[in-house]
Symmetry: C2
């Protein structure tokens, strides 16, 4: 049974439940920051997924990022798998703007963030949902 790490749960909001992974939005205003969390137990590395699962997850991340970059007129897609702090496997997809406060540095380790207001949350959810999600 899939159990979400409480730190991931606390830092992000569920947008869509797919068969194999959750699509969550990080609770930050500054960045359009998505995390994808595969729903198998005991995953810490991408190598814990079989090749089909990896390909499905990564291509979804790439194509979702591409969709958001173009519809929102943003500048760069950052994709990362770190897991140094929270070991449960999660994939970051951050669609960056040259005007965001961390640019051109990474968002990981960025300290000063504001939580999502209701409007921004609803807007970003719609953008994600518009990416032909079943």
């Amino acid at each position: 049974m899939f159990i979400l790490d409480p730190r991931l749960e606390n830092d992000s909001l569920l947008i869509n439940e797919q068969v194999n992974f959750q699509i969550r939005l990080m609770n930050v205003t500054e960045f359009f920051w998505i995390i994808l969390i595969p729903k198998k137990t005991n995953l810490t590395e991408l190598s814990d997924l079989n090749v089909n699962e990896r390909n499905q997850l990564l291509n979804f991340a790439i194509d979702l990022g591409d969709h958001i970059k173009f519809t929102e007129n943003l500048d760069k897609i950052n994709i990362g798998m770190l897991g140094n702090v929270v070991s449960q496997l999660h994939l970051h997809v951050v669609i960056r703007s040259q005007n965001d406060p961390a640019w051109p540095g990474p968002v990981w380790g960025w300290k000063t963030i504001n939580k999502l207001d209701k409007e921004t949350l609803e807007y970003r959810s719609k953008v994600i949902q518009s990416f032909s999600i079943n």
Copy 2:
């Protein structure tokens, strides 16, 4: 014709030339840090690769990271595609130790680094070559 960005060339050393990508080692002692650079022109995002090319590159990165993590008894694989500074598509595979100076933060943005000495370069090259590279 494939042209390597001079900043990537300056920061890293060629270890192996594959058909579709270069395997390079970042010129830093502190981290076992590999970059994979696809050899097509005008790539900035993973979405610029077709699905087969993406899958080949990413699975290679995942399996190479896994190989090094286990043979070197390291702690965590960090994989990242950023490109905010150098736009030419390159994939980072960093095999982290809980004892490295940036842990648990990301290596991207880490400032104080020492260049590879000859012994460490040769050692890491051998570890990479031991991953059944053709």
